[in-house]
């Protein structure tokens, strides 16, 4: 039986890049407030100022709400998917996700503490979440480090589960302390994840992180390929397994923590998207990681579009949409492919 690749790698790239354009447009053009598509386009190229010199409401909706939100979706989707693909490659396990090192729990704890202590200011919440996420990862990594300074992926996974549970307990306790006040809604909404808080300040921080991080991960994709031969196998191919592993884990954790800091813990993007792309173009990480990044961005933008339109004017947390789309698809893949993923 010949292994079937439905499409060549190049055509997958082209299709994904082409899809990005209408995705971005749709994300900006569609929303609870109807704005004609032509107006949207003209706003995007900077002509949104009305005759008296003040910006129109539609222009403000596009430039201050929808565009940052779509771009945040792009960055977060990109970061989560590429981190997920990297983690799956590192752990040689298709069930790994960007949250495997306890980042989600750590970030939730950080965010909930910020809310509990009433720290106001645009960047406090992301900062708290970011620190929490990285702290969890750091503890997990330390725990998994052996005397010989090597880290075993199995210990990493187990430590990730344990540390995750610990941080979840702290978060639950914080929620318990918040009960009775409005803060509890904030915490719960934060943990469900969403792109609703998007603004340009966030984008200024996140864009360079995601861009640089993705480039580093793509540069290490060949190490990831070599590591699929096992760590000793990679060593014999001229790769320093410990160094590569540390860099990739670090960058993936950084990307994930940053994404979570601004968008909360959005599930399934980092698990499902690398999977789907692996089925389409195969496990070669040199192609898998870049396509996964683009596909993650597209997926999250559409999921967010659904989140804010299906129950409009109310908004569903996007994590619910990704789970609704992702979980059944994941089960389908499991059923179809079984252990062969």
């Amino acid at each position: 039986m010949k292994r079937k690749r439905t499409c060549s790698r190049k055509s997958v790239f082209v299709v994904l890049l082409v899809l990005t354009v209408p995705t971005l447009l749709a994300g900006v053009a569609i929303g609870p407030v109807h704005i004609p598509i032509l107006d949207t386009l003209s706003y995007l190229v900077g002509r949104g100022v009305s005759i008296d010199g003040s910006p129109s409401v539609s222009y403000l909706i596009i430039s201050q709400i929808r565009l940052p939100r779509v771009l945040l979706g792009l960055l977060v989707g990109c970061a989560l998917a590429i981190s997920g693909g990297t983690m799956q490659g590192l752990f040689r396990n298709p069930l790994a996700s960007p949250y495997v090192l306890g980042i989600a729990s750590g970030a939730s704890t950080g965010a909930s503490l910020v809310i509990l202590f009433n720290l106001r200011g645009a960047l406090f919440l992301p900062l708290g979440a970011f620190i929490g996420g990285l702290m969890a990862t750091g503890i997990v990594y330390r725990l998994a480090q052996e005397r010989s300074k090597k880290t075993s992926v199995y210990t990493l996974i187990l430590a990730g589960v344990a540390v995750g549970a610990l941080f979840s307990a702290v978060t639950s306790f914080t929620i318990f302390l918040c009960s009775g006040s409005e803060k509890i809604t904030d915490v719960i909404f934060w943990t469900m994840g969403g792109l609703g808080r998007a603004n340009w300040a966030y984008l200024h921080v996140l864009t360079p992180v995601v861009a640089l991080g993705s480039i580093v991960l793509i540069a290490f994709s060949r190490d990831l390929n070599a590591l699929s031969m096992g760590e000793e196998g990679a060593f014999h191919l001229g790769i320093k397994p410990e160094t590569s592993k540390r860099i990739m884990l670090g960058v993936a954790a950084l990307l994930t923590s940053s994404a979570v800091a601004f968008a909360g813990t959005i599930g399934f993007v980092g698990l499902i998207i690398p999977h789907i792309m692996r089925l389409i173009i195969g496990p070669d990480h040199r192609f898998l990681l870049p396509t996964t990044a683009i596909a993650g961005a597209i997926f999250l933008i559409w999921a967010d579009l659904l989140a804010r339109t299906v129950a409009s004017p109310a908004e569903i947390p996007v994590g619910i949409i990704t789970a609704f789309l992702g979980a059944p698809f994941f089960l389908y893949l499991l059923k179809m492919k079984g252990a062969r993923m």
């Binding site: 292994r3 490659g89 070669d284 062969r340």
Partner: protein
Amino acid sequence: MEITTDGLKFSYNDSPLLNGIDLTVPKGEILAIVGPNGSGKTTLLKNISGILSPEVGSVYLDMTRLPELSMTELARYLAVVEQEREIGFDFTVREIVALGRLPHRGRFARETSVDKQWITEAMELTNVAPFAERSIRELSGGEKQRVFLAMTLAQNPRVLLLDEPTTYLDINHQLQIMEIICQQAAAGLTVLMAIHDLNLAAQYANRVAILHQGRLLAIGRPADVLTEVNINQAFQVDVAVGKNPVTNSIYINTVPTQLTRPTALGKLHIICGGGSGAGVLHALVDRFSLSVGVVSPLDSDFQVAQYLGAKLVTEAPFAPISTRAYEANLVTMRSSDGVVICETPFGPGNLLNLRAALELESKTSIYVLNPEVIEERDYTGGQATKLIRQLVSSGAVPVNGVRELRRRLVSRYQNTDCSVNRRSQSSQERALKAPGR
């Protein structure tokens, strides 16, 4: 490229695994490391491949110490085939083989036409090209191991280390792998392999080293190293080393432990030849002290008898039985407690074995296997048939098959106190040492 180690020592959790290993593998040589489980074979390979660093001593590739090579240089010079690898994802065969080019390429460089050529050649050499686009995880163990070998060949190393590359493979795939390795060694690749199968080692390696308790017990040509004494010391088993008639390399047979049981019920002489005696010999060897004659050394029964430690009366190949052999045979028969005549084809050459039986005084201790079908294997124009019939009519016991033979012999001699029951120790020793020298 030459591999040299000087006084390698390595211990794990304070228990020494390697205790001063000095060896040199010249360019183009295949050195096989054998030794019991836990003797340190894998540890030695890992010290040489750079995965582990020796506590004392160094490893050299040509004249360069291993730590002085960069990771990339090391990967260009030295490749490793492990016993078994589990690949996490559905990589295609070609993708795996292409990994071998990683050390020859920069981080961002794409596959060049040179890379492609190496990959294609490696896949053709190992005969994995037909399933280049299949997933590695769909392949059988033998196919997988060939793919990993192809990957290391695409790596174009000067030195190849193999850690029991054939352990989980069937005999056909074992040979395929070894043949490829031999070809590469002939082209200048230096090969060091740990291997369990002593016979594969003997057949394919230029030299063999026995690793025992972290030291080299012996190193040298297979025939000099794989001796009964060395193997017994390293593995605590009794073996008989013979020569493989097909490949002319030595081969090692284990000797069943029951052979060393001292009490035999009695001495039996077996008249056989042409393979007719093998089954009988095996069926009786655990309870009786056996002798065989007259047979020629080219006869398969001769070899079986030899391995089973039977006393042999022999004659030169293709020669009729001489008076000397006839007399010797008769003496052996007379000193036996019983004689078994197997379903041997009789011709002019061995007819004298039947005449000798006829000379025996007590015909009732002669057992004849299936005498009623003697005509079918009589190539003497009826003389053999006549002799067999004569034997049976004068009291020889006809038996129907080997199982019945064994049953009757055991029940007969269990109750008699035979005078000379002691199995001759010297015949056994001779058999263990005779061949391959």
